[in-house]
């Protein structure tokens, strides 16, 4: 660190505004050096940004952004990590005024979230060198002022492992649905209260950490025995397709004997509502509640929990979507207190085979409880089964140019060449970028050109051969630049 500060000071002294200073949140450094401040139009300047990871962590997700003034074009030249060329970075241009009013962001992205699959991590003490050119077709002075970089110390990942900290009281079953293959959903709850340890699947479609019921004849069955009687909670992560009025019988979950016995069901309806309801065999009464499809956005994972308390007469039902309780439009009445659910086989994603009620949705982390979960319980369950947040929190790093870092670029027209006839010859004066080398070329036909003088700008040259020529043309060309 001390050494880099020393070098830093030297650079400032030697190179003036060619080098930019920067803030850093973690001690890493980014220097931005121009090969020169002045050039001719259409002669690009070259800029090198060098980042050094001064932390003890490997950095992921690094990207660098330069805010480019209007009138300047950018060409990416190279990116190196620890001196090794990188080709799979992403060069991205934003919109003018996106961040600051007068510039356009241009980005070099070495790794993209969320998987950082480009594998361009920066090890401790590692460097990134990004080289690009800046050009203008019109003369002018431009101010480079805002750049920034962003990275983080470790990546997070989505886990498909079985959670260990879910609310345990009353847990009857937990189906992570992370088998990925086969015709069995395994119950991993440690105390299943006599619950069969697995389910029978028909025509499942598997994702990496979920099961997809893909329509025709695709469903699951499991025998709950007597594990659930008069209170229950069914909760899990679900991903539904868009509402379809024709999809009038996509049954999510039902318990035994919904029409003849004491059973409960949760299903969609053709009027755009979800309905959950309970049927009591003795009274023949139904009760429950409805809520709109709109409470669950399609094609996104939502945590849905359904509770039922049959001890309270007319059923006390509730639905939580992503932990938030919904208002239910009441359905039915007349169910006696202390009603029960019959023992037997429950079914997911279908009503009764072969029924033609084909369901199309995905599910993971399905939990069954023999009690009514509170909102806090639901929130805890949701957090425990979300699959996120399992790794340690990432350490974000960033840096940016200080307000005093402004570097100016000047593009000049020219070079210019002027001349005057004298008795000793034609006197030519070339004016270009001071310190740059230019040649004067002469021609008699504007086709064949001969170099007659080369020098650094500005300089004067007398063409003594002009005296013998009836006509002669001159031009000035830049030969080399000062580096």
């Amino acid at each position: 660190m001390i050494k880099s500060r020393f070098l830093f000071a030297c650079c400032v002294a030697l190179m003036g505004t060619r080098l930019a200073l920067a803030f850093s949140s973690d001690g890493s450094t980014l220097t931005r050096i121009l090969n020169r401040n002045t050039s001719l139009t259409n002669f690009p300047l070259v800029l090198t940004a060098t980042f050094t990871n001064n932390t003890t962590n490997t950095l992921h997700g690094f990207y660098y952004t330069e805010q480019i003034p209007q009138g300047i074009s950018v060409q990416a030249l190279s990116v190196k990590v620890n001196g090794q060329s990188v080709s799979n970075y992403i060069n991205e241009t934003g919109d003018f005024g996106d961040v600051f009013s007068d510039v356009t962001p241009v980005r070099w992205i070495l790794e993209q979230p969320v998987d950082f699959s480009e594998s361009n991590a920066i090890p401790p003490n590692g460097t990134v060198q990004i080289t690009y050119s800046l050009n203008s077709t019109s003369p002018g002075t431009f101010s480079l002022h805002d750049f920034c970089w962003v990275a983080m110390a470790n990546s997070s990942a989505i886990s498909n492992s079985t959670p260990t900290n879910i609310p345990g009281a009353g847990l009857v079953a937990l189906f992570p649905a992370n088998e990925g293959t086969g015709n069995v959903l395994s119950n991993v709850a440690s105390n299943p209260f006599g619950f069969s340890s697995s389910t029978t699947l028909s025509n499942p479609d598997w994702g990496s950490n979920f099961i997809h019921f893909q329509g025709a004849g695709s469903f699951a069955e499991f025998n709950i025995g007597t594990s659930i009687s008069n209170r229950m909670t069914v909760a899990g992560w679900f991903n539904f397709p868009s509402y379809n009025a024709a999809d009038d019988a996509c049954i999510w979950i039902w318990s035994p004997d919904i029409y003849a016995g004491n059973g409960a069901i949760f299903h969609t309806m053709p009027n755009g509502m979800f309905r959950l309801r309970y049927h009591n065999a003795a009274s023949g009464a139904w009760t429950g509640g409805d809520f709109p499809w709109g409470a669950i956005s399609p094609s996104a994972w939502h945590h849905i929990a359904w509770t039922l308390d049959l001890t309270r007469g007319d059923t006390d039902s509730s639905v939580f979507v992503d932990g938030v309780p919904l208002s239910l439009v009441p359905y039915g009445s007349g169910v006696p207190t202390n009603s029960v659910l019959d023992a037997g086989i429950w079914r997911l994603a279908s009503y009764a085979p072969p029924d033609g009620n084909n369901c199309n949705y995905s599910m993971r982390m399905l939990a069954l409880y023999n009690r009514v979960l509170t909102q806090a319980d639901v929130t805890n369950l949701m957090a425990a089964t979300s699959g996120r947040g399992l790794p340690s929190a990432p350490i974000a790093s960033f840096g940016f140019s200080e307000t005093t870092d402004r570097q100016s670029l000047t593009f000049l027209g020219g070079p210019t060449i002027t001349g005057a006839a004298t008795s000793s010859g034609f006197v030519l004066r070339v004016t270009g970028i001071p310190g740059f080398t230019y040649s004067i070329q002469a021609s008699t036909n504007l086709t064949a050109w001969n170099t007659i003088a080369t020098n650094t700008s500005p300089f004067t040259f007398t063409d003594t051969n002009s005296i013998a020529s009836p006509r002669r043309f001159y031009r000035a060309l830049q030969v080399t630049s000062m580096n």
């Binding site: 979230p113 409470a295 938030v324 960033f398």
Partner: protein
């Protein structure tokens, strides 16, 4: 913005809109035109208004004033039930802590210049020289309305823009069209309007679509102008004054006209083109009254706040994505009055509903995401002193976990 609380949603909204300073200068007078006329979810969520205001005050050096305004037209549930003075019993599906008067008083107690203004109709008729034409109001004459006369649906019609006294600065007149007026002249200080509508089914009976459809950004202009005239108290939405129709009586009142809702939108578009154009529209849909504006058991907790620079596109997205799933009759992709209202406004060159011409940028607090642009704006805010280093790091962490 969805699934945050009212303050999270509005703060994130400003973030995604490139910050309030992108729209507001430090000396501007800000008029928040919200909806006050109905109780419960029927008036603009007070917490969302507070969230918008708090971030404006966070603009470094902000020295303007903020006025919360609406013309309730004397209608709705009547005095005592408007947002300005709504009692706690009328704040269901809204911010329970304060009504608008209390919110403004709270700011003033902190030394912050926030006030409420209930715009009042002018009961004096002024015959136009021609149609179309303006009848301008001179602030030197005190409060009044600049009126614009037009033909809508074949009927002589007028719309109007208020000029009113600032409750915060004695002698200052707020002209929505021309800016701040003081000491006999316009000062050059700008007046900028932010419209903050609700998102409700207009239907009084509930559960279906009435002549209006949705009441949100486009419809909110009905409280920005004068509807009934010639009386300080409510007469009728259908009132015709000296042969001239109001924005309501020339459109929705014409129930026999299948284009009535379209005409309503047309007149709103004319308002924007001829009177003034708000800088931003913010729909406060923490609750969405899918049944109607007031039934407390007929609103969904949608926890959403939306913003756009025009009301037509905003209403299209609000109806399609937020309230439509709860009230299918408000889906603007169907041939209904909601769609007609939006298309009428669009016909005046306001916004678009063409999916290829619009982009919806969403932030879900339950599934937070951040882009590189978001991160860079937050770094900018940190450099400018309006965000902390931890704010930047928190957003980077979200970015690093975003697909």
């Amino acid at each position: 913005m969805l699934n945050g609380d009212c303050f999270q949603n509005t703060a994130k909204l400003w973030d995604l809109a490139n910050g309030p300073a992108h729209y507001i200068g430090v000396d501007d007078v800000i008029v928040i035109k919200a909806n006050a006329q109905w109780p419960n979810q029927g008036y603009t969520h007070t917490g969302c208004i507070k969230g918008i205001i708090d971030k404006i005050f966070a603009i470094p050096g902000f020295a303007g004033e903020i006025l919360i305004c609406d013309n309730t037209q004397g209608g709705g549930n009547g005095p005592g039930s408007y947002a300005f003075n709504a009692p706690a019993s009328n704040r269901v599906n809204n911010w329970p802590d304060k009504n608008w008067n209390e919110l403004a008083a709270d700011y003033q107690a902190q030394g912050k210049p926030v006030a409420v203004v209930q715009w009042q109709n002018d009961i004096n008729w002024r015959e136009p020289a021609a149609v179309p034409s303006y009848s301008f109001w001179n602030p030197a004459s005190g409060p009044g309305w600049t009126r614009y006369f037009l033909t809508a649906g074949g009927r002589p019609t007028y719309i109007s823009s208020p000029i009113f006294a600032s409750p915060m600065t004695p002698g200052r007149m707020i002209d929505m069209q021309n800016g701040v007026w003081e000491n006999g002249a316009y000062t050059g200080r700008k007046v900028k309007a932010i419209f903050m509508p609700t998102l409700n089914n207009h239907d009084y009976n509930g559960g279906s679509e009435d002549y209006a459809g949705v009441t949100s950004a486009v419809k909110s202009f009905f409280g920005a102008t004068e509807i009934f005239h010639g009386s300080p108290v409510y007469i009728s939405d259908d009132y015709v004054w000296n042969g001239y129709y109001s924005i309501h009586s020339t459109s929705y009142t014409q129930t026999q006209d299948p284009n009535a809702a379209f005409i309503a939108g047309q007149v709103v578009g004319t308002f924007i083109n001829k009177l003034y154009s708000p800088i931003l529209y913010v729909t406060a849909a923490m609750y969405s009254g899918w049944f109607n504006r007031t039934a407390t058991n007929g609103a969904a907790l949608t926890k959403t706040v939306l913003a756009c620079e025009n009301p037509a596109t905003l209403d299209y997205i609000s109806c399609r994505d937020v309230i439509g799933p709860f009230a299918p009759w408000l889906n603007p992709d169907l041939q209904n009055n909601t769609r007609r209202q939006i298309l009428g406004c669009n016909s005046q060159g306001i916004g678009t509903i063409d999916p290829t011409q619009l982009e919806v940028i969403t932030y879900d607090f339950q599934h937070p995401t951040a882009s590189r642009l978001d991160v860079e704006r937050k770094i900018r805010d940190y450099k400018q002193g309006t965000a902390t280093q931890q704010d930047v790091k928190d957003l980077i962490n979200v970015y690093m976990q975003s697909e």
